[in-house]
């Protein structure tokens, strides 16, 4: 067994460990937002480790290209997907864990808020600010 194989095995075991941590966090966290927090980052790290193991195992440029492509794709899309999903959960009124203290979206997104109408609202606010300055 070469040193390369040992490195591949270490990366695979580390990646699997982080995926397992994500799954445990998905079951142990008290809240949908905390579940997203625990799951998304840890899974990204685990997938990165496993795909780097794939690149190291083959050692060719084709393997490295695909592995880095998938890793970059996850680095770009996991924050976006989690953010979109957390926003949808907040807007649909999923209850939060009572231990969560700050709620920075409370004054921006009311119960009757429409995402399509937010742009018009901010434009009106800007116009009124301009009038006040004039």
């Amino acid at each position: 067994m070469s040193a390369n194989d040992l490195l591949v095995m270490g990366l695979v075991v580390a990646g699997t460990f982080f995926m397992l941590v994500a799954a445990v966090g998905l079951n142990r966290m008290p809240d949908v937002y905390l579940r997203m927090h625990g799951a998304a980052k840890s899974t990204t790290l685990g997938i990165t480790a496993i795909l780097m193991a794939v690149g190291l195992h083959f050692g060719t440029s084709a393997a490295y290209t695909r592995a880095v492509l998938v890793v970059l794709f996850f680095f770009l899309t996991t924050p976006v997907g989690t953010h979109v999903l957390a926003r949808a959960a907040y807007l649909t009124g999923v209850p939060r864990w009572p231990g969560t203290v700050p709620d920075e979206m409370a004054d921006q997104v009311g119960p009757g808020h429409r995402p399509g109408g937010s742009r018009a609202g901010s434009a009106a606010a800007r116009a009124s600010g301009r009038e006040r300055r004039a």
Partner: protein
């Protein structure tokens, strides 16, 4: 090498079962969507492990496609969730 890969695959299957439990039990719909996202990421990891195990690099293309589909699924579900509350 092979034993380590098989053990890692077994641990990933166990981890996927935990995600499936959250998918089954999640009190709200976003909980289930998060669990589904996790399961599709586990699919990508398992395909990568299978690529190492068999030594066929072609299987890694399936991981690329699974990654693309996982993001699309999450965004589509989020859009669907937000459509229920307005207009």
């Amino acid at each position: 090498m092979t034993a380590a890969l098989d053990g890692a695959a077994l641990a990933l299957v166990l981890s996927k079962a935990l995600c499936l439990w959250r998918l089954f039990r999640g009190p709200s719909l976003p909980d289930r969507v998060v669990a589904l996202d996790q399961i599709s990421m586990h699919v990508v990891a398992l395909v990568a492990l299978y690529t190492i195990r068999t030594g066929q690099l072609v299987f890694l293309d399936a991981a690329v496609v699974a990654a693309l589909l996982s993001f699309l699924t999450t965004v589509a579900f989020a859009r669907y969730l937000e459509q229920g509350i307005e207009r």
